[in-house]
């Protein structure tokens, strides 16, 4: 039930640039070919084990059979996130993600008919309460009335029943996470519980009643205090995004502004839910001990019972080109932190594999340029890193650094720029480039060890790029990245006018 700030995407290369080595030793080429043949098998086999199927109502299924253990990993990817929220309603997608665990007309209630009435009464009092607060009236009486109505509604509740049924069935999870672009619900179960999952998951996905709303709102406010307000990284991140995007909703906090949370209502939740939780917005990835031919009819029975609805509109706002560099400083009692960002592109952009490699060369591992220079050589930072974020709408390339004791953000910032300038002027050397590709490749192969990881990636590629196969194709693209590509993209995106800088400066 956390906030996903960093949707991880694995990339991988497929075939080495053999030409490069032909001038070298024949045996080297030979060894590389053997090695690559092996890796190809490793994931081609995975790709071939995937079955895809679209239910009659439009829900897409991606199933990968893996019988190595009697367990199954389920991942429901709903194409809605913080990016779909309107002014005054920030945090609604995340709150909904929480409420999805509070049950339906069947799960989590002792008597839905009576509970429904009690909830309606509670909502009416809440509305009055919000109005009274807005008018600055004394709300004590209303608050007492509200508390009484809340307890009355709670009497019909079977607390946490949804999670309890799954937990008792031997689940890992259930959990959920949300990003700007999507909401994901996951759980892992022993493979004899597939039908139970299908029943519960489909019901809560399309029949959620947003029970326990007012208490969950309190939980979410605590989550906000914990992850954002009480944390230097959280505070900086929120400020950074706010200046990085002035038009596009990527600038809003996923968890929501406190005042929007204070004024949230069940009505708002309901209409957001009805608009976005539609079959065509849902992708289900299932990885593990299942037989697709037996699973699909079950999916049709449970997930197929929901009516087709219109596809909700996508975000039309486009972030205007930045006119000049933007900077923000958060002064708090904490040690320095620096984040630098450059506006880039969305997931389907052809430059994506190149920046993936640039992130590796600049900030991936102990031999990366920033680590070598800032940590090992100049000793101004204890850690540095970089990451190319290419989501559904245009994202950013991030660099960050944590100054070592007695050093400053400014020193870290200056050296990062120096290293970027060097990348702009000189071609990277081949060993460095091949190393970066090798790291991307092993990272991908290691990613295949996790059922949940595979399910997450399949669903993400299907949702954001339109085809899960791109998860595997990505590697071919990474492999083709050349020294010249690196130089070109760095010059293309990494310039001061396109830059956003955020720092935590210690308050004395």
């Amino acid at each position: 039930m956390g906030l996903l700030l960093k949707p991880v995407a694995y990339n991988k290369q497929v075939m080495a640039k053999a030409e490069r080595f032909l001038t070298g030793f024949i045996c080297v080429v030979f060894i590389i070919f053997i090695a690559l043949a092996d890796h190809c098998l490793a994931y081609k086999d995975y790709q071939e084990r995937v079955t895809e199927h679209t239910l009659k109502n439009g829900i897409r299924l991606i199933i990968l059979s893996d019988h190595s253990a009697p367990v199954v990993s389920f991942q429901v990817h709903v194409d809605v996130g913080a990016v779909n929220e309107r002014v005054g309603e920030t945090g609604i997608a995340h709150l909904l993600e929480h409420l999805a665990f509070n049950g339906t007309q069947v799960i989590g209630t002792k008597n839905w008919k009576d509970e429904k009435k009690a909830l309606a009464k509670l909502d009416r009092i809440h509305k009055k309460l919000l109005m009274a607060k807005a008018e600055g009236e004394n709300t004590q009486r209303l608050e007492e009335e509200f508390e009484e109505a809340r307890l009355a509604a709670d009497r019909f509740t079977r607390t946490n029943e949804f999670g309890q049924i799954l937990e008792r069935a031997g689940a890992i999870g259930p959990g959920a996470y949300i990003s700007y672009d999507f909401t994901c619900y996951w759980v892992e179960l022993p493979s004899n519980k597939v039908q139970l999952w299908a029943l519960l998951e489909s019901d809560r996905l399309l029949n959620s009643v947003a029970r326990g709303f007012y208490q969950e709102l309190k939980v979410v406010k605590e989550e906000r205090r914990m992850l954002v307000d009480n944390s230097p990284w959280g505070r900086l991140w929120e400020e950074f995004r706010a200046i990085a995007y002035k038009a596009h909703p990527y600038g809003n906090p996923i968890i929501g502004h406190m005042s929007d949370l204070e004024n949230m209502t069940r009505d708002k939740i309901r209409s957001f839910y009805e608009k976005h939780y539609t079959p065509c917005n849902i992708i289900v990835a299932i990885v593990g001990d299942v037989e697709p031919e037996r699973l699909i009819p079950k999916m049709e029975k449970y997930f197929g019972r929901f009516p087709v609805k219109d596809r909700p509109p996508s975000v039309i706002t486009v972030e205007p080109v930045q006119a000049s560099e933007r900077k923000v400083t958060v002064e708090i009692k904490a040690e320095p932190i620096l984040i630098i960002g450059y506006h880039t592109f969305k997931a389907t952009h052809p430059d994506r594999p190149m920046l993936r490699i640039v992130a590796e060369i600049l900030g991936g591992g102990r031999t990366s340029r920033l680590y070598e220079r800032l940590v090992k050589k100049e000793k101004v930072a204890i850690d540095v890193g970089s990451w190319s974020w290419a989501p559904k709408y245009p994202g950013m390339f991030y660099l960050w650094g944590m100054a070592s004791k007695g050093h400053t953000n400014q020193e870290v910032e200056r050296l990062i720029y120096e290293e970027i300038e060097r990348l702009k002027k000189e071609l990277v050397n081949v060993t460095e480039l091949e190393g970066a590709k090798a790291r991307v490749r092993t990272e991908f192969i290691r990613g295949l060890k996790s059922r949940r990881g595979i399910a997450r990636e399949l669903a993400w590629y299907e949702a954001v790029t339109g085809d899960w196969r791109n998860m595997f194709k990505e590697l071919e693209k990474v492999e083709k990245v050349s020294e010249e590509d690196i130089k070109r993209v760095v010059n293309n995106y990494f310039f001061s006018q396109n830059r956003v800088v955020g720092m935590v400066e210690p308050k004395l």
């Binding site: 367990v71 946490n160 031997g170 939980v219 230097p232 019972r305």
Partner: protein, 481 residues
């Protein structure tokens, strides 16, 4: 004949009526009958085949083949830990393990090793906690031989380059400077120190002055004390053939001479639990971090199995009383739970935690404490017990769903001297836990009147003064320069 025919017809009609009637009713919607589902039994869990060998020099080797991906993983557990750091040189174990990895090995400098690994996407990392040290990594199958020989160099012939020792110190100083920036981390650390004792090796922290004192010679001594083949459990898993792999292991580690190891006395933990209220004031905090608890049990305690079920019912998961009552019903906190940490080799913690808004701090403490009291007063319900046990036992299949966790668990048992089939005993043990066990164990091991309570937050905004609960001790967490 006619009559008989009539009879048959009647019979048919008689038979058809109910069928017809059933057909008249709308077909039952079974898509929401979760109680009616039946589950086939899973096959019993089998531990996959593995090889355990002891080399002539005493090194224990575990091997497990896993041909699904072209990867090989390796991990060495070295019997040591930071509990054996000299008091005035706290941090020695951490720095040693950092520089084992970064300071070069055999014929290669640290930077050369970094290059060698990262050029082929391989990794080797080293680290240690209070009672375990490890060096581990992975590589693609094709690069394994060269990477494994680097691993051998790191373990057998570390160079401890002075420049890398300095670099490690800079990193640790940076972490010391930042150690109060995260309130959660701060609360966990200070709570541990309250329970085990501020300077007890099981809780003490590294300071600038203890780091300054550490020299290269200390690292070499530390290494010489503990890094011997007879003090190492080595595990390999992945895409290989076991007999062939054993030969490789022999060729890298076979001629490493064993030596008798003199372990110092293990530190004594002698804190008697007493009720206390402790406060760290953070003016900028928007939330209180609450920790409460006392010294717990070791994992080999006969009450451990019942303790797991007890924790599950009291404070962990959707079903637990904490989860239902404090999170969902009270909306008290995003995270609130209680658990026995039960370490392998020393008493763990009984700890309950919550992060709540400042204005509900005392309320939260009271509610958490009440739940701990209640579970000691009367037996849990039959349903709670059943659900608690089922949640654990049905999920036991996930203790075996990857070879990584199976072999790493075996290595841990070997390392701490637990029986290798301990996981089976654990499952059997949990099956046998009764309501009465839960009550007995709760009474024996939970001490609500002797809780050490720590709050990190801004008391100006507490719902009531913390002193309304008892005498408050202010903790000084300023970092000694």
């Amino acid at each position: 004949m006619k009559r008989e025919l009539k009879k048959i017809k009647k019979g048919i009609i008689f038979l058809l009526v109910p069928v017809f009637l059933i057909g008249c009713f709308p077909k039952r919607d079974t898509t929401r009958d979760f109680q009616r589902l039946e589950f086939v039994e899973l096959e019993p869990i089998e531990v996959p085949e593995y090889t355990r060998r002891e080399l002539k020099n005493g090194m224990i080797v575990y091997l497990m083949e896993d041909r699904t991906l072209p990867l090989i993983h390796f991990k060495a557990l070295i019997k040591t830990g930071s509990i054996w750091d000299p008091q005035d040189k706290a941090g020695l174990c951490d720095i040693t393990f950092e520089v084992i990895r970064t300071g070069g090995g055999g014929q290669r400098t640290g930077n050369e090793i970094d290059m060698k690994l990262e050029r082929v996407g391989a990794q080797i990392e080293a680290g240690a906690d209070r009672d375990m040290g490890w060096v581990c990594g992975f590589s693609l199958k094709d690069n394994f031989n060269e990477i494994f020989s680097v691993f051998g160099d790191i373990l057998r012939n570390p160079l401890f380059d002075q420049a890398k020792i300095e670099l490690a110190k800079i990193k640790i100083r940076g972490l010391i400077a930042r150690r109060n920036d995260n309130i959660e981390e701060l609360a966990n650390r200070e709570f541990r120190r309250l329970i085990y004792g501020r300077d007890n090796p099981y809780a003490r922290i590294v300071e600038y002055k203890t780091i300054e004192k550490i020299t290269r010679n200390d690292l070499v001594l530390f290494y010489n004390n503990f890094f011997h083949p007879n003090n190492i459990v080595l595990g390999l898993w992945g895409d290989f053939e076991s007999e062939e792999m054993l030969k490789k292991v022999e060729s890298i580690f076979g001629d490493w001479e064993p030596r008798e190891i003199q372990f110092p006395e293990k530190p004594i933990i002698e804190q008697e639990p007493i009720a206390s209220f402790n406060l760290v004031i953070r003016k900028e905090a928007t939330q209180s971090a609450i920790r409460m608890g006392h010294l717990g049990i070791r994992r080999d305690h006969p009450d451990y199995f019942a303790s797991i079920v007890l924790s599950k019912i009291l404070g962990a998961g959707w079903h637990s009383r904490f989860g239902r009552r404090l999170r969902t019903e009270e909306g008290l906190a995003y995270e609130v739970w209680a658990w026995q940490t039960a370490e392998f080799d020393y008493p763990g913690l009984f700890i309950a935690t919550a992060q709540t808004s400042l204005g509900r701090t005392i309320e939260a403490i009271t509610l958490m404490k009440r739940e701990i009291e209640l579970i000691r007063q009367k037996e849990v319900s039959y349903e709670e017990l059943k659900v608690g046990k089922e949640s654990i036992l049905n999920a036991a299949v996930f203790w075996f769903d990857t070879k990584d966790e199976i072999i790493e668990r075996l290595m841990r048992y070997e390392y701490y001297g637990y029986p290798l089939d301990y996981i089976k005993r654990l499952i059997e043990g949990i099956k046998e836990v009764t309501k009465n066990d839960i009550l007995r164990v709760a009474r024996a091991h939970l001490k609500p009147d002797k809780l050490t309570i720590l709050v990190v937050g801004n008391p100006e905004f507490f719902d009531k003064p913390l002193s309304s609960l008892g005498e408050v001790r202010l903790l000084d967490i300023s970092i000694p320069q």
